[in-house]
Symmetry: C2
């Protein structure tokens, strides 16, 4: 797809500030480690593909020209991994939700020089935030960098499930033609009830995109929206999650993974949903009880489940979500479109620049600051 | 999916007027033939599945209680088909675009009693309209019955192609995990240029649903929209098709199949599109040169092609669109969701009722009336 236009401004943001004055908070050369997914033969297929190991967020020349050391790897698990080797002396660790470097309390203890943990993207649940806070580390993400990307993907997966697209696609590639096998469970989205669990930035963007579909829109969140915004978005607040669930034809998960949301959709809560419900989850896999979802898809209580998040990631070959009926699963991709990569690469560079200069980050980017964890992760 | 609510009003419309006075234009028992796709084991899986042979639009009891004969079949091709047997003495032929009964000039000549050709759905290109007009037949469709269904499906296919969903889905079901293989050609829809070829009812509904995605929206049509509507929809008129095409990242086909649009996208016109263009066509397969599309997908000039229409239908096992790279094809399903079936069944019943009473149809439903072909088919 030849869509360079939208990328141009973000590219400029990545490239524009090539030389900065050296105003480091703690001066001297820093050791920065980035953990990204490896692209291999795909690395050279798109000049804007900065989110992979080979692309390295497009900041290698800039970092090295300032005397910093920049190590990039996809090898992140276990005591012999490349990441583990650098834990004792790295200053900054950058990772993404798509190929997360799990930062445990143990790793934090070993990382004597560590000051800053950056997520290139959104979501810092791969980090033990309590341990990071206790150790006085700063954790930050590029809030907003891929919210549009994820919201678009959610609407796509809603439509794929509601319309029963995938059985039709299988017929097309398998030489078959059986309209009835698709149509008997294919619906319009119009007129259906969609509820989002969480209406933060992504949830709101999804609701805005759903508005012209003439659905009945519901949202559950810690906070009720400002009445003006609520009216504009056209969604109704549901204070009680368990009261909202039985009303929904489609449930979309838009809440971070925290101690409160881990395993939120277990067997009992799934049973509270309408029989035949569709669930879309691009938030985090561990918000679901893996086996309970697979069982509910098999029984038909859940008529379809779509998403790009799993636990752990990469998902093992035998993960039950790969094989359950009526799913629309992919690897973790919704927030790593080319457009998103350019935005989160630019946001990461901006934070590094501020870190070197001893400047504050944009306040919405902080997840852990001065021992305190941001409210959405509490 | 347990979504009965939206269907209720259409069901009522189907069921409400069970008894009418016999005010036939030409009195007496009529022979009505319906050609639909067969559902077999799927027929009993959904009580609202009225669009198949077994469901027979839910009008059998009503027709038979009035003394009419109602024959329903999916066997429509060739001289020994069930349809062919009834051609000489049928009065009304109902068909759908999903499993079209091709009504040739030859069949019209043989059908001495034929008065009315109804499309349960939208699209009457399976009928030789000139021959129908010359023979004094009435041709009508249920305009509007599935426009929302088709527009929703178009937006789904746009997202599937722009986001590069299907390679990710294949990885999920095949036990793989390679984010880079997906991400290097996955984009946001936001900021891209989408052009619709045709902005009738479906095209307008698509544009309205695209509005919150913050795209650059273009439309080519015979007519420029009313300025107020154009402003509300937020799309720019392009009088010259060939001037619009090179601007588009995504092209969507929303024009009927006519002598003017048959083969409209041949090798030369495809060459005018931007390299890497994505094309979505839920209109009619024959608007494309089949082999030219397959070749352009293979060369990469077209980066993705999605749709549910083929020529002929059912698509043969060796249709090249089944096997070309980067497609998002299904059998012809977008206009036959359960919701759409209930609407077009109700609309078909309403027209039969009016026909029996000698009343006019709603004017927008006529495709051929008193020897004249509706403007969109000219």
């Amino acid at each position: 797809m030849a869509m360079k236009g939208a990328a141009t401004s973000a590219i400029k943001a990545v490239a524009s500030s090539g030389v900065t004055r050296n105003l480091h908070a703690s001066p001297g050369s820093k050791k920065i480690v980035g953990v990204f997914y490896k692209a291999n033969e795909y690395a050279s297929m798109n000049p804007n593909f900065v989110g992979c190991v080979e692309g390295a967020l497009g900041i290698r020349d800039w970092l090295e020209s300032q005397g910093h050391q920049y190590i990039v790897t996809d090898d992140k698990e276990g005591p012999d991994s490349e990441l583990e080797k650098h834990i004792p002396d790295l200053h900054v660790l950058i990772s993404t939700p798509f190929h997360p470097a799990y930062v445990t309390a143990e790793r934090i203890k070993k990382a004597k020089n560590l000051q800053l943990l950056l997520t290139a993207g959104i979501g810092s649940d791969h980090i033990d935030l309590n341990a990071a806070a206790a150790a006085g580390l700063t954790v930050a993400e590029v809030t907003g960098s891929n919210v549009v990307s994820v919201a678009e993907d959610e609407l796509m997966r809603i439509l794929i499930l509601v319309r029963n697209f995938l059985p039709g696609y299988h017929q097309a590639i398998n030489g078959e033609w059986n309209v009835a096998a698709i149509a008997h469970r294919s619906y319009d989205l119009e007129g259906k009830t969609i509820g989002t669990v969480g209406a933060g930035r992504i949830g709101k963007l999804l609701l805005q995109r759903l508005k012209p579909f003439n659905c009945n829109l519901l949202y559950h969140d810690r906070l009720k929206m400002d009445p003006e915004l609520e009216k504009q978005i056209g969604a109704k607040f549901e204070e009680d999650l368990d009261a909202m669930l039985p009303k929904c034809d489609v449930i979309v998960i838009n809440t971070p993974l925290t101690d409160k949301t881990r395993g939120l959709f277990d067997k009992d809560r799934i049973a509270k949903c309408k029989k035949g419900v569709l669930i879309v989850n691009n938030a985090r896999g561990a918000i679901m009880d893996t086996q309970a979802i697979a069982d509910a898809c098999t029984s038909g209580h859940v008529a379809g489940y779509g998403g790009d998040v799993w636990y752990p990631q990469p998902a093992p070959k035998d993960h039950p979500w790969r094989y359950m009926p009526n799913h629309a699963m992919t690897p973790h991709i919704s927030g790593t479109t080319i457009d998103a990569q350019l935005r989160y690469a630019a946001g990461t560079k901006d934070m590094l620049e501020r870190y070197f200069k001893g400047e504050e980050f944009p306040p919405q980017h902080y997840i852990v600051k001065e021992g305190k964890i941001a409210s959405q992760y509490q």
